[in-house]
Each structure stands twice: as structure tokens, then as C-alpha cells.
Amino acid sequence: MKSSVIVFPGSNCDRDIAVALEKMQFKNQMVWHKETELPKSDLIIIPGGFSYGDYLRSGAIAGKSSIINEVIKAANSGCLILGICNGFQILTETGLLKGTLLRNKNLRFINKDVNIKVLNNETKFTSKYKKNQILRINIAHNEGNYFTNAKHLDEMREKNLIAFKYCDEKGNINTQSNPNGALNNIAGIYNSKKNILGMMPHPERMIDKLVSNDDGINLFSSLLK
């Protein structure tokens, strides 16, 4: 399985994701944002960080970079795309994923481990998880408050496009378990073809019990299948 990680000025989770991919035996390449061609890839990752210092809006400038046109082409021809944190913000700015990520409701940068529930385990990203499995995964963001219009929310519910929701340790999805004010506790979503996943939590930080836990491993092993 070949993967490419797109690197922008200000990306800071690019190495973490590369370590995770290599641990899982992906053949990974780093791709600088100024490139105009993508290496042949089965999976493209837009990593977390603060591309262009979050100037204008988080992800806005990176969303117009030259490599992004190639990512859009690859996405439209069915390539798997994973956007984590700033990567999710960038994917919404390109229009590959609908909706947007607003400033956290409490106006604070939030860095902590939270619980999320796997709502759909019938996708290429999540097949190794159980349905409704609760994962403990780190979040670290200032703009993670997912927002979209009512029509798109209905569409996501109907077609099962909500990937993860924030919940408490027992799986209850409510205001208390919502860290950032995201609409309906949404932590991650798919596009309608389910080949693109955007998520605020960082699965690449959860691949080793020595430093955290390994709740993120199955996302990568699902992709390997």
C-alpha cells in the first residue's frame, strides 16, 4: 500500500503520521506542497499542524496550493484521502468535504485525550473497529467546532457519513462530552463516496502503548486490507 503525506509550511504532525504509516508497513513518501505531481498513491494524507500559521482561516491558504489540485483529481478518481486536524480543515476549504470548522466554543486551544464513538465501521477506514466502539484519542486544536447546514446534516445521517462523534467513557453523546461545540458532537465525517475521511482527533498519536494507547492502530490496519 503506497501512501503520500502532503507537507505544508507549518505542518507539524507530518512526521508523526509518517512514523505511524511506516510502523504499519505502508510505503510512504513525503510530498512538499509546491510539487505539481503526486507520486502514485493508494492513500493521501493531509496532516495536522498550522499550515501558513492559520492565516486568514485555518486551512484557507493551504487549500489553494498547487499540490491540492492534484489531490482533488486523485480524490475524484477514488483515491483514499485522510485529513487529520488541520488536514480536515484544509479538506473543507477545498470543498472535498462539506461544512467548516469554527473556533472552539470556549475560545480556548484544547489539547487533551477525549472519547469518540465509531458510528460507521463499514468503510475502508474503519472496518477493523466494532460498530459503536469507543476510542480514546488525543485532540489538539483551536478550530474544531464542526458546522454545516441542515440539508447536509440530514444527508450525512441518511447515508451514514458521520464517522465519529465525541462521547463520554460510557458512550453517551451529549453536551458534557462535546469538547469544542461541534454540531451534534461530530468529530469526523466522510464524503458521499466514503473515500475521503476528515477528522479532528489524532489517530497517529495513538499507535504505541508506551507513549499513549493503541486505539488509532486499527484505522491504519483497516486501510491496509
Binding site: L56, R57, A60, K64, E93, G99, T100, L102, R103, K105, N106, L107, F147, T148, N149, G181
Partner: protein
Amino acid sequence: MKFSVTVILKKDVLDPQGKVVQNTLKDLGFLNLKNIRQGKFFEIELNENDEQKAKNAVKQMCEKLLANLIIEDFKISKTK
């Protein structure tokens, strides 16, 4: 030709920054303060003499990059 552009969150989108600014101003004694919405302001200068052309270009800049139309509205005005 010069333009000024204001980008501001749509009415039904929560503006927590505006709310905090509003609460702080109330604490400072501005009790008649009714509402504050915080936005962004751009001064844009173009090499273009045709006003209509220039305005169209600024509109496209707003739609393509300066504003996120899902959550924001923009206003363009010509300045001297």
C-alpha cells in the same frame, strides 16, 4: 483603484469572539451596548481603471479566498 472589503460571520453563526468583546465592554461600563459582531477588514488596491472590472475581480477574490461562504458574508466598497 482601491476597495475595502469587510468579511463577517453570517447572522445565524455563533460569534464567540464578538460575544467576549461585548461582555468585556459591558464590564467596562458601556451598559447601553446592544450587540457586537467581530469580522475581518481588507484594503485592496488594483491596477485597473475600469471600475466594473475591478469590482468583479474583488468579488471573485472574496468568493475564492477571502470569505468562506458557508459561514461568512462579505461587503465591498470603493474607497479613495
